[in-house]
């Protein structure tokens, strides 16, 4: 087309939003699964033993852990229940396989409802090809949702006065 240079941002808007970078538009700045998820959650791999993973998870102040491969693709979850198993077991045998994962752009209100309705204390947030973005805690999702609602009420009151 005769342009000096054309570049393709292959990972696209999803990658940008998953990284918590600013956007413009009517949903800009609103909290989402990706922006509220914690990015410091512990991870482990299939070949590790439950005992060593449990120690690491507890030391980090968590009670759950995401099982990933070398490309950070989510393979399973080690929740409270799974972490109480035989310490000699491999993660591959102890984990809960195929957990539901959520995309980073899902509005936090939708996520809060989902986690309450399905009684999920945590949910892994991933890119569309399954790579881990972060771990969303139900308590964080609910807090962000209620703060957003309170903010909208304040804004409406300010506009009405």
């Amino acid at each position: 087309m005769g342009f000096v240079e054309v570049m393709d941002y292959v990972d696209g808007k999803l990658d940008w939003m998953a990284a918590g970078l600013p956007t413009e538009g009517k949903n800009a700045g609103k909290p989402t699964a990706g922006s509220i998820a914690r990015h410091d959650s512990p991870t482990c791999e299939l070949s590790e033993s439950l005992g060593e993973v449990k120690k690491r998870v507890r030391a980090a102040g968590w009670d759950s852990c995401v099982v990933i491969n070398s490309e950070r693709v989510v393979l399973g979850m080690m929740g409270k229940k799974e972490l109480t198993g035989d310490p000699e077991l491999s993660i591959e045998r102890a984990m809960r396989s195929g957990p539901s994962t959520y995309r980073p752009f899902v509005p936090i209100g939708e996520m809060a409802h989902e986690l309450v309705d399905r009684d999920l204390p945590i949910a892994p947030v991933t890119t569309s090809d399954g790579r881990l973005v972060g771990l969303l805690k139900r308590e964080d999702a609910l807090r962000a949702f209620h703060e957003g609602r309170a903010q909208r009420r304040d804004d409406s009151a300010a506009m009405a006065s």
């Binding site: 342009f3 054309v6 570049m7």
Partner: protein, 67 residues
Amino acid sequence: MPRSIERAEVQKLAGGRTRFVEVLPAREYEKNHLPGAIHLPLRQLETLARPTLDPARPVVVYCWDSG
């Protein structure tokens, strides 16, 4: 053939001479887009790019993801 770039390079280019173009449907663009990006739907890219964009400025095109 466009050159593939990653987020780190996109961040360096943002706010400079480079134009950002989102090719997703209008509804998606209206919700969220990269700062300063304009909207040219993929189906009309060929016909709208010329009259809309300055060929002397670099262009970054993006959609949702690599899928």
